[in-house]
Structures are given as structure tokens and as C-alpha cells.
């Protein structure tokens, strides 16, 4: 069933948490996740603390229903700051610089005087009982195909400790304190497709600066509400592709709740199938108070100018270094292919060839075969294209042959089938090599290599040629 998001009055915003690649935000420990057995453990308890008017924050109260003991695992890469045994050091300079660069990339207004805050969190994921966070910038924008999405706020904050055993309340301190930027868009997103696109776009943009890469280094949350309903936060997407599905399911659930007048403000965890489960009530603003151990954070003109210069350098380097034309860069960016492009660069260092393979060829094939680009894209997905390019890099596929091979795949031939064809080719080549050796006996292996590679360049790798020649030269 296609949902009519306009009529439902869907309002949605994204919250992206991205780890930065610097040492920790409030101490000098390396931002290093550990796999070994912990070197020591510390046991702690957390207490709900009443707010000024005596009320305990609704989310904090939910967490503290049962006073629980927490165990924290530590290593030689952990210091007293993560253990809540030493006051925080001043904000890590590099992390602040990176955050400012991101703020500028999103055209945000930077806040020159701001205060580091403590956000009450008593689920045990912070030894202190709060997460330190500071509002760095606000009012930016992100461009997606359907228009502009406003950026409400950009905060710099510390990551939480890692859950090792939820039941037993065991956390690992390695992740606690890793710098994060939290980017919250305005509720400008009108449908799930836009949400997914905005998330992808933000991810791409973040990779222009010094951020951490890999699983768990970026996390997306979706805030949504429909007409007559409360705000819901969806958390913990394992895969960005799940955003659309999860939003669809939640909107449907909300539709039902609104009819029964049962919609409540809550935080929900997304399951792998896109459904979600209740996590806790949505926290109120009452859970924020100042970090009294640190002075006001003042962001000078010089710091902002430095970040601006860095951004100009970063974007130029990033885009020019690959030897692509500005138009090609724009094209990649418009098709959300920058990320894929960079992934392929690690497979084969030939930017133009990659651009052709992931962008131009699929387009040409689509128009030739009278198929939509999306349809072609489903067949020629990242894995297939990556594999083809890998074989090009290994010399198993000739550059000039790529388009032909992709065409065959789109026409329905299996990828393995295409590769099998290549095996036949090798059998044929071997015959020819045997013949060359027979015709010119007594030469060195190197000399045969020269002859063979001259004739079959691109169709066979040096290693393959070498193996075949050795079969016939004793």
C-alpha cells in the first residue's frame, strides 16, 4: 500500500552521529576500540538526580526504576577521565576543528560563545551519569534532489561506553569519550525517500573531513511525527537502506495510534526487518545542565577562518587529486556516487575508468537496452562492479572489455558465466603460447614472457602467462 505522506502530514528530521578521527574529546586517550580481555574493571552505581523543581527527568526516571550496578572494563588506553575520576580536560583542539569544518560544509552559523553541557544519561553508558555535549553551530542547510533540508543544530559530543552485556550492565570504556558530531536536521523531510537521500548525502559530505570510517562510526536516528501524533525517535539503523522501510512501518503504526488517541513521545529501537520496539520515553529539555568543570567555549574568528581554509583545501584536494573534471565530480555527487567512487579507488587506481564503470556505462547500457537506470543499477550493484574492476586490476579483464561484460550481465548472463567465458579464452591462449614456444625453442623464460605479453596484453596477467610458459619450458 502506498502511503500518502502529504495527507498524513509526515514531519521528519534526521539526527546523525559521526565519530571524528582524533584522540578523545575531553582527555588525551587514543580513540581506540579494544578486543582483548579488559585489564581492569570498576563497579559503579548511578542515582537519579532531581532537577531544580524537584522533578526527575522523565527519561532518567525510566532508566533508574531499578538502581543497577554497572561494571566498566578498562585498558591501558583508558585514563581517569573516562573513569569519572578526573575532571575533563579542555575540548580536544583537533576534534573542534573537524566539527567546525563540518559546520562550514553545511553552511551553518557558528556560535562564538557556547557552554559545554551535561546531558543526563543514567543507563550506565556514561560513567559520569551524563554525556558532555556542546552546541557549536545552527541554521545550516543540505541540498538534496528535491530541495533543501535545513540543519537545525550541530553539536560536538562524547561517545558513550560500549555495551558488552546488557543484562549484567557491563560496559567497555574504550568508546567512551570518542568525539562525535551530532547533526540534527530540521523537520523538513516529507517522505522516507528524502530521509534516505539526506542520510546518504550527509554521510558523503562527512567523509570529506577527518572522520572515522567503518561499522559503528556513523549512526542515524530518525525523528518523525504525523498529524495528531507525538514525536517518535527511531534509533539504531544497522543499514541506511533500512530507513525507508522503518519509517513506512512506523508511520503506519502511528496512523493507528492517532486514531485511538494513543500516540506517545518515545524512543524506539529499529529491528533488522524495519519494525521497531519501545526503548524509553523521549527525554525532555530538563536533562541538560552546564559542565561546571570547564570554562565557556569561545570559538574565535581565527579558528573559524582556519577551518574555512581547511575546507577549501579538503574539497579541492579531494576532488582534483583524482584527476577528474569538475563536471565528472558534479555528476558523481548528483548521483550519490562519491562514496562508491572512493570505495572503488581502493580496488583500482584509475579514477576515470571507475567513473565510467559506475556511472557512464550503466547509463549507456540502460538507454541501449531501454531499461531504467535504477533497474540496471540493481543488476550492476556495487559488488558486481567492484568484482569486475578487481579483475581488471588483476589483468584478468581487459579495460576495453568492461562495457561488453557489463552488457552481458545486464542481458541476463550470470556474472560467473561471463567469467567462465574468460576461462575458455585462457585455454585458447595457452594453445597459442605452446605454439610460440615450439616455433622459437631454446629461449629464456623472460624472453618468452616478453613475446607472450606483447601478443596477449590485457587478456592475460603476467602471473598467468608465467605459469603457462613454465609448463612448456623445462
Amino acid at each position: 500500500m502506498e502511503l500518502d505522506y502529504n495527507t498524513l502530514g509526515l514531519k521528519s528530521g534526521l539526527e546523525i552521529h559521526q565519530q571524528l578521527d582524533s584522540s578523545k574529546l575531553f582527555c588525551n586517550c587514543p580513540s581506540l576500540l579494544r578486543k582483548e580481555e579488559p585489564k581492569f574493571t570498576v563497579k559503579r552505581k548511578l542515582h537519579a538526580v532531581a532537577g531544580e523543581s524537584g522533578e526527575i527527568d522523565v527519561a532518567a526516571a525510566h532508566e533508574s526504576l531499578a538502581e543497577k550496578e554497572f561494571t566498566y572494563e578498562g585498558y591501558d588506553t583508558i585514563c581517569l577521565v573516562e573513569l569519572d575520576e578526573e575532571p575533563p580536560h579542555v575540548v580536544n583542539k583537533e576534534a573542534l576543528e573537524i566539527a567546525l569544518q563540518i559546520a562550514l560544509l553545511l553552511n551553518c552559523k557558528i556560535i562564538p560563545i557556547t557552554q559545554i553541557m551535561r546531558k543526563t544519561v543514567i543507563d550506565g553508558s556514561n560513567t559520569s551519569g551524563f554525556q558532555r555535549t556542546v552546541l557549536i553551530a545552527r541554521d545550516g542547510e543540505l541540498e538534496i534532489s528535491s530541495g533543501k533540508i535545513g540543519i537545525a543544530t550541530l553539536c560536538l559530543e562524547e561517545d558513550a561506553a560500549r555495551i558488552i552485556d546488557k543484562e549484567k550492565g557491563i560496559f567497555r570504556l574504550d568508546r567512551l569519550g570518542i568525539p562525535l558530531v551530532e547533526i540534527a536536521t530540521k523537520a523538513d523531510i516529507k517522505n522516507p525517500q528524502q530521509a534516505k537521500e539526506a542520510a546518504l548525502k550527509l554521510g558523503e559530505l562527512l567523509r570529506l573531513v577527518k572522520v572515522k570510517r567503518g561499522i559503528g562510526t556513523i549512526r542515524q536516528d530518525v525523528n518523525l511525527s504525523i498529524k495528531g501524533g507525538q514525536r517518535v525517535e527511531l534509533k539504531g539503523f544497522q543499514d541506511i537502506r533500512n530507513i525507508e522501510r522503518a519509517m513506512e512501518i512506523e508511520v503506519q503504526r502511528q496512523e493507528g495510534l492517532v486514531k485511538q488517541k494513543k500516540s506517545i513521545a518515545e524512543v524506539r529501537a529499529v529491528n533488522s526487518d524495519g519494525s521497531s520496539r519501545f526503548l524509553r520515553p523521549l527525554p525532555g529539555a530538563a536533562r541538560m545542565y552546564p559542565e561546571t568543570d570547564l570554562p565557556l567555549l569561545k570559538i574565535s574568528r581565527e579558528k573559524i577562518d582556519k577551518a574555512k581554509k581547511e575546507i577549501q583545501k579538503v574539497s579541492k584536494e579531494e576532488l582534483k587529486i583524482e584527476g577528474l573534471s569538475d563536471d565528472m565530480i558534479k555528476l558523481l555527487s548528483n548521483h550519490n556516487k562519491l562514496d562508491e567512487f572512493k570505495e572503488m579507488l581502493s580496488i583500482i587506481n584509475n579514477p576515470l575508468l571507475i567513473a565510467k564503470t559506475i556511472l557512464i556505462f550503466p547509463k549507456e547500457i540502460a538507454s541501449k537496452e531501454k531499461k531504467s537506470l535504477a533497474e540496471v543499477g540493481k543488476t550492476l550493484n556495487r559488488d558486481v562492479l567492484g568484482n569486475v574492476l578487481e579483475n581488471v586490476a588483476k589483468g584478468k579483464i581487459d579495460e576495453g572489455n568492461i562495457k561488453h561484460i557489463l552488457e552481458k550481465i545486464v542481458k541476463g548472463e550470470s556474472y560467473e558465466g561471463v567469467i567462465d567465458n574468460k576461462k575458455e579464452d585462457i585455454n585458447f591462449i595457452e594453445e597459442r603460447i605452446a605454439k610460440i614456444i615450439k616455433e622459437k625453442p631454446g629461449l629464456s623464460i623472460n624472453a618468452y614472457m616478453g613475446l607472450v605479453m606483447k601478443e596477449f596484453k590485457g587478456k592475460i596477467s603476467g602471473q598467468e602467462a608465467n605459469e603457462i610458459i613454465r609448463k612448456y619450458v623445462k
Partner: protein, 428 residues
Amino acid sequence: MKIENKPEPGDLVEIFLIKNSYKGIFLESPESEKGIFLLKLDSGYNIGLNKKDIFEIKVLKKSSEKKEKIEVKKDKEKPNIAMIITGGTIAARLNPKKGGVDWLDTPESLFKFYPELFKIVNVTKVEVPFMKASEDMDYKDWQKIAKTAQKFLNDSNINGIIITHGTDTLHYTSAALSFFLKDLNKPVVLTYSQRSIDRASSDASLNLECAAIAAISDIAEVFIVGHASSNDDFCYALRGTKVRKLHSSRRDAFKPVNTEPIAKITRDTLNLLSNYKKRNTNKTRTDLKFEEKVALIKFYPGQDPDILEYYRKKGYKGIVIEMTGLGHVATKRARKGWTKKLKQIQDRGIVICAASQCINGRLDPLVYSNGLEIFSTGVIYLEDMLAETALVKLGWVLGHKEWAKNKDEVKKMMLRNIAGEFSDRLEN
């Protein structure tokens, strides 16, 4: 700047800059940032605005802080204790709505923050002789605490007392109370917090709960109760004369020196670990005499002994020198030897005592000829006594004219074990 009604902390305001405006709750400016207005935005985040950039401030809504009524009910089944609140992290709380600090100085405010404490005991009396950071205190404050403590100790409805205090000089206060309170009949428990009480991880809760257990225990001594380790599992009871702050920030900042803890205390148990004076029916007295003209100096290599002249000219009556190792300062063989000056200064009636910079271990001037040379000038070597305790004790001893007039009497008193300040045996 145009200001419509002067905004008070807590008011909802709109602040206009040249280009844009911000709405939020008006907060108190930090002490060191008088040129800045702080504003709490809707999101809960605070930002700062330079006063000189502000064009106009409009008060949108006055703060309407309602005083809540909290009733602390007494439970006849529970033992009664009294509390003396003197300031420090454990009694100060940031008011996030205004930005300033609130003090916890009534049973109601204590109840709000430490409801667990009231599960163990009734806090029937709370007295606040002053509110100070502990580094701002001096002997007059110790005297005030002692007088208040005496009053509570001789109240038959009260089982024991808890004194909350800043950490920095807590061990000086604990030493002073150990000498000031005579014929002690009930527990006098000092406790603290290293993590502010407005955070969920505050160490104050465990410290206070264990202090309550200690205050109704059998230990009639002056002692500090606080975290035994970084874990939130148990505390130690540490004798007031043999304890020192040995870490600037950890929860277990206080460690026993040259002794063992008196007891290990969890939230519901107390295990005795060493000898102690038992609860009794004495009437507790105070002996508050104190000579203010005492000093504690730390010897360092190359230090000019003329520093002693400064103290003499200023009318000091006694000095504790934190000496190196077993009890040494520069001798005759040094470029700036102290031997002669020490002799001169003592001849003029100033009492010189020695304590060790090593903190751990006992002094012994007889091992090296250098030690013997210093010892021979008449310096009183205070065995394993802590330098801080030594300073307090010297002030207390010299405060007694009948002892102070005779150097031998002073020496006898300084070396007499009055409040557990000496250990006969060191196991570590």
C-alpha cells in the same frame, strides 16, 4: 542597550543582536565572565552573548519558581543523628535554571538529594556554623565545628554526628577535632564528595550512607568515611590523625597513612579492621586552646635557612619542617647548611619539629651522621606522625600556656600519643 524590565535569572527573555535574536531562559553570568550574558535555549543548551553586541532585551515571562514543600518524617524505629554542614562539594549544588549555586543546608534539602540517608537514620538536627570551601578555613573554624559537635554529642537523643566538609583540608580538620574533643563518647564522622552531587555518579551517596552506618556504630572516635577504592561498593573509616588527601580527584582520595583503616563499611554492614575507642557515656568536653603562630614548611635542596628568620621576626612560636627521608635538612657540609640556624632559632625559644616528606614511614635521625647532626640541635622528631597532623598538634600544644612555657613539656606532649597520631608498629 535597551532593557525592558531588568531580567532576573530564570526569566524567559528575548535578546536581540544586530542581525538576529535568541529566545531563552536568562541565566546568572559566571563570576569570571561578567561581560557575557548566558542564555538557556529551548533545546536545553546554553550559549553566551557578549553584552556589547546586545541591542535589546525583552522579558517575555517572569520566572515563577514555586517553593515546594518537602516534609521529612521521623521514624521512631530509626536511630537519630545530627549533621554539621560546613560547605564543600558535598553541600553545593548548581541551580541549572539560574546558573548559580544553591546550598544544601536544611534537612529538607538534604532529604531531596540523599533520600537513601534517611532510610538508615533520622537526621534530627542540622547545624551550619559556616559555609566555606575547606581551603578558606582556619583554626577558628575548627573550634566552631568542635563546639557544635560537643553540643550534639552531649544530647542524649543523638547517636552520632556526621560532618560534611570540603576535601582539600579535611584531614587538618579531622586532626584538630581529634585533639579538641576530649572524653569522646560517640562517633564523629567526617565525610565529603569528590564528584559534585548534581551528577548521577556522585560519590556522595555511598559516602553519606556509609557515614550514617558509622555514626550509629560503636566507634567513639573522630574519623573520615569515604570511598575505599574507585568502586562504589564500600568505604573505609580512617582515623582523623592518620589520614591524608593523597589524590586530587579520585573518589578514594583519602588514604590511611602509617596505619590501617578502623573499619570497612558497606551500605548495610560495618566490619572492624583495627582497634578503636568504644562508645561510652562520658560527657564530652572541648579543649580548644590554639596557638596560631605555628608554621609548616617543606625543605627543598638549596633552600636558604634564613626562611626561619622570617618566621622568628613574625613572632612564630613553633615550626614543623617537612624534612627529607628519615629526617634530614642540609648540614654543615652543604653550601647553605641549616645546622647553625636551627640551633640559633631554638635557643630563642622557637619549637622546631620534624616530619617526613615521604609521608609513609617513620623518621629516624640516628641512621646517618647528617640526621644526628640535625637531631643534636634539639629538633623534636615526630616519629611516623603526618606533617599536617603535626602542625595542628603543635598549634594545640603551644596553645596551652602551662606546657608552652617549658620546652621539655612541649616535647613530652608532642611525643605523647594523644589521639592515635602515632603508630607503634608499621606493617607497611
